[in-house]
C-alpha cells in the first residue's frame, strides 16, 4: 500500500504541484524550442549521459522547484533502473551480450534522461495557454479540456492517495483497497459532470488571464543559448 501511495505521490509532485507559475508562464514557442534542444542534447553527451540529466536538473531547480527535481528524478529513475539492471542481468545470465556495470550505469542514465525530459515537458505545459490557443482557433467548445484535465488528474490522484492511506489505517490489504479507490475516482467524474454541466456544455469565449514572468523567460533564453552552443560545437566537431 505504501509503495503505491508513494508512486502516486511522486506523479502528483512531479506533474501537478504548481499552478500557473514558474516555467509554465513562459511563452509556448520558447518552451517548445527548449524541449526540442534538450532532446537533441542527448546526442553530444551519448557517452556522458549524466551531463544532460544535470543540465535539466539545474533548469528544473531554477524554473520549477527542488521538490519537482526530487520527485521527477525518483520517478524517471524507475525505468532507468529497470533497463540498466535487466541489461546487466541478461548479459550476466547469458541471455544477451555481456555488459560491464559501467555500461549498465550508462543505460540507466540514458533511459532516466528520456523519462526525465518527458516529465519536464509535462510539467511546463500551461493549461491556460493551451486553452487560450483553442479559443483563438475557434475551438472554444474544446477549450475547457486542458483545464479540466489539469484539475481532475491531480484531484483524482489526491483522492486516491487519501483513500489508500485510509485503507492502511483500516488495516486493509492494498489490492482490496484499489477497487474502492478507483471507484471513488469514477464517482468523482460523475459528480463533477453533474455539478458543472452548464459550464462544461458551453464553449469558452473570453481568453483566460495569464502573465509571463520575465525571470523565467530569461532562464529559458539562457538555457536555449547554452544548449544551442553545445550543439553547434558538436556539429563543428569541437566537443
Amino acid at each position: 500500500m505504501q509503495i503505491i501511495g508513494a508512486l502516486v505521490g511522486l506523479i502528483y509532485r512531479s506533474l501537478f504541484m504548481s499552478g500557473e507559475t514558474g516555467l509554465k508562464t513562459v511563452p509556448s514557442v520558447l518552451k517548445i524550442t527548449l524541449i526540442i534542444l534538450s532532446a537533441l542534447t542527448y546526442i553530444p553527451f551519448y557517452s556522458e549521459p549524466y551531463i544532460p540529466v544535470l543540465i535539466l536538473s539545474i533548469i528544473g531547480l531554477l524554473g520549477l522547484n527542488r521538490w519537482w527535481v526530487g520527485a521527477s528524478l525518483a520517478l524517471s529513475s524507475i525505468p532507468g533502473i529497470w533497463y540498466g539492471l535487466t541489461a546487466y542481468l541478461f548479459g550476466f545470465l547469458g541471455f544477451a551480450a555481456h555488459i560491464s556495470p559501467i555500461d549498465a550505469l550508462m543505460i540507466y542514465f540514458r533511459t532516466t534522461y528520456i523519462s526525465f525530459l518527458v516529465l519536464f515537458a509535462g510539467s511546463i505545459i500551461s493549461p491556460v495557454q493551451l486553452s487560450n490557443f483553442l479559443i483563438k482557433i475557434g475551438l472554444g467548445d474544446k477549450a475547457i479540456t486542458p483545464i479540466i484535465l489539469w484539475r481532475t488528474m491531480p484531484a483524482g490522484l489526491h483522492d486516491m492517495m487519501e483513500s489508500l492511506a485510509i485503507g492502511t489505517l483500516k488495516g486493509e490489504k492494498a489490492w482490496k483497497r484499489l477497487g474502492p479507490a478507483t471507484a471513488s475516482m469514477i464517482e468523482y467524474s460523475q459528480f463533477v459532470w453533474e455539478n458543472n454541466y452548464y459550464r462544461l456544455e458551453s464553449p469558452l469565449k473570453a481568453l483566460l488571464p495569464y502573465s509571463s514572468e520575465k525571470k523565467y523567460i530569461a532562464l529559458v533564453l539562457a538555457s536555449i543559448l547554452i544548449e544551442t552552443s553545445i550543439l553547434v560545437l558538436y556539429v563543428l566537431g569541437i566537443v
Binding site: 521538490w67 458543472n196 473570453a206
Partner: protein, 443 residues
C-alpha cells in the same frame, strides 16, 4: 419582465427504483429567498437538482413536471442560456470546481459568458493571497468561498445553493449571508437548501419543509417549523479522570506543503481516554492537515507523534472512507468476522441508515454517506477517532444521534478529535483548540 424568478410543479423526480420527490409546487419571485429544509435524505438536494434540470444527468435520474427559471425551461434550452441566468453552489464543494488554479476557476465562468474577469476581486472573498494556488490544495471552506466568488461575480439573477456555508468559518458565513441579502435587495432571488434555516432568518425568506420527498410545510418563515437544535447526551460520571490516560501525543509539529510556508508551527496536542477535543479556526489554517498528521497520513517536517491503539480518520469527503460498494457491505467489513447481523442493524438504526443499507454508495446523499462512514468507524471500534467536519450535511434530528454516538465512544474510553466549524458540536468538547496562523491554542 415577469416578477417570477422560479416557478415549479414537480409531479415526480428522483432515481428510478429509488428515492423520489413528489407533488412539490413552488414559486419564488425576484427580491425573494426560499429556504428548503428537512431531514437528511428528505429530498432537498434532489428537489434542487430537479429545479436546475440536473436530475436527468444523475444515474437513473428522472423528472416529471415543469420548471421555469427566469422565464425559461432549463430542460429545453441550451446550457449556455441557463448558465447566464443562474449561480449554482453544489453541496460537496470539491465537485463544483473545474479550474486547476483559483484564478482559472474564478475566470472560467466569465469566459463562458464572453466576459473578462477581474481576479483582484478574489480578495473580497478572502482568497486574494491564493490567486495562483492550485485548487486541489484548498480546504473545503476555501473551495466554498471560491464557488461563491465565481457564482456571485459572474452575475445571474437566481442563485441555487446547496448547504453553501457548511464548511465555512463563522465570520465567512456572516459575510456570505450579507452578500446574498444584497443580491436579494438588488432584485435577485435565491433558493437555498440548508439544515440550519435560522441562519437565513434575517432575509425574511419563504420556507419549504420536506419529509420523505413530500411537502410538509410551505409558507412564510416560521421558527416553529424549523428543526430545533439537538439536545440530550451527557458525559459519563465514571469518566471523571478522562484525559489522564493519553492515547495520542503530538509534540512540536511543524508542517509545510512543498514549496509553501509552514502551515503548522510547533503544534502540540494530546488526547486522552474519554476525551473529546474540538479543533476550530478560520478556513485554510490547517485543521484538516493537522488531523491527517495525527492519523499518520502526512509526515510532519518536524516534531514527534505517539499513538496508542488503533487510530482512524474520517475525511471531509466521506466517499474516500469506504471499502464496500454498499452501506451494508461497508458495515459488514467494519464489523469483522465475529460480528453478527443484530449489531449491524442496531448501528444502522442509530445512524438512521436502515432504509438505505442495500443502496450503492454512489446513489446515497451526502448526509447519508457521512452517517454511514461514522457508523462504520464506530462499529469497527477504534481507540482514537479523528473526524473532519463530521456534521457536514447532517440535520438537527440526526446530529443528536451522532452526538450521542460520539459521547458513547468517549464515555467508553475512546479519544475523539473533531475539526469543525459547527456550533452544534461545541457543547460536547472537553477542550477547544483554536488554530490560527499555524499556532494551536487550547483551553
Amino acid at each position: 419582465m415577469s416578477q417570477v424568478a422560479v416557478k415549479a410543479k414537480v409531479s415526480e423526480a428522483g432515481y428510478k427504483g429509488g428515492f423520489s420527490v413528489k407533488d412539490v409546487f413552488l414559486q419564488v419571485d425576484y427580491g425573494e429567498a426560499l429556504i428548503i429544509t428537512g431531514r437528511s435524505g428528505s429530498g432537498k438536494s434532489t428537489l434542487l437538482k430537479s429545479l436546475l434540470g440536473l436530475i436527468r444527468l444523475s444515474r437513473n435520474g428522472y423528472f416529471r413536471g415543469e420548471v421555469i427559471v427566469s422565464g425559461i425551461n432549463p430542460y429545453r434550452v441550451k446550457p449556455e442560456k441557463i448558465f447566464q441566468m443562474i449561480g449554482y453552489i453544489p453541496q460537496d464543494p470539491w465537485y463544483g470546481v473545474l479550474g486547476h488554479t483559483v484564478e482559472t476557476e474564478y475566470c472560467l465562468s466569465f469566459s463562458v459568458l464572453g466576459l473578462q474577469c477581474n481576479p483582484s476581486r478574489l480578495s473580497i472573498y478572502g482568497l486574494g493571497q491564493l490567486r495562483n494556488h492550485i485548487t486541489y490544495g484548498l480546504s473545503a471552506g476555501q473551495i466554498q468561498r471560491l464557488l461563491w466568488a465565481s457564482s456571485i461575480d459572474k452575475g445571474g439573477k437566481v442563485f441555487f445553493m446547496d448547504e453553501p456555508g457548511v464548511y465555512v468559518d463563522e465570520q465567512g458565513k456572516k459575510e456570505f449571508i450579507d452578500l446574498v441579502e444584497r443580491h436579494i435587495e438588488n432584485g435577485g432571488s435565491a433558493i437555498i437548501v440548508d439544515h440550519d434555516p435560522l441562519l437565513w432568518a434575517p432575509l425574511s425568506p419563504k420556507l419549504l419543509v420536506l419529509e420523505n420527498g413530500r411537502t410538509v410545510y410551505k409558507g412564510v418563515f416560521r421558527e416553529d417549523k424549523v428543526p430545533a437544535p439537538p439536545e440530550g447526551g451527557s458525559r459519563s460520571k465514571t469518566m471523571e479522570n478522562r484525559g489522564n490516560n493519553v492515547l495520542l501525543i503530538a509534540d512540536n509539529i511543524w508542517y509545510s506543503y512543498p514549496g509553501q510556508k509552514p502551515v503548522l508551527k510547533g503544534v502540540s496536542i494530546t488526547a486522552g481516554k474519554g476525551e473529546i477535543i474540538g479543533v476550530t479556526g478560520p478556513n485554510g489554517t490547517g485543521k484538516s492537515t493537522l488531523l491527517k498528521i495525527l492519523a499518520g497520513i502526512y509526515k510532519p517536517s518536524k516534531g514527534t507523534i505517539m499513538r496508542k491503539g488503533k487510530t482512524i480518520l474520517i475525511p471531509e469527503n466521506p466517499l474516500l472512507y469506504f471499502s464496500g460498494a454498499t452501506i451494508k457491505e461497508e458495515l459488514e467489513l467494519a464489523c469483522g468476522r465475529y460480528c453478527n447481523e443484530e449489531k449491524i442493524k442496531a448501528v444502522a438504526e442509530e445512524f438512521g441508515i436502515t432504509h438505505i443499507l442495500e443502496k450503492p454508495l454512489a446513489e446515497t446523499s451526502s448526509g447519508e454517506r457521512r452517517r454511514a462512514a461514522l457508523a462504520s468507524a464506530f462499529l469497527a471500534g477504534y481507540d482514537v477517532f479523528l473526524f473532519d467536519e463530521p456534521s457536514g450535511g447532517l440535520d438537527n434530528y440526526i446530529i443528536k444521534n451522532v452526538i450521542d454516538s460520539i459521547l458513547a465512544a468517549a464515555n467508553s474510553g475512546k479519544a475523539v478529535v473533531i475539526a469543525s466549524h459547527d456550533k452544534r458540536l461545541y457543547r460536547i468538547y472537553d477542550k477547544t483548540c483554536v488554530i490560527e496562523g499555524g499556532i494551536l491554542k487550547c483551553k
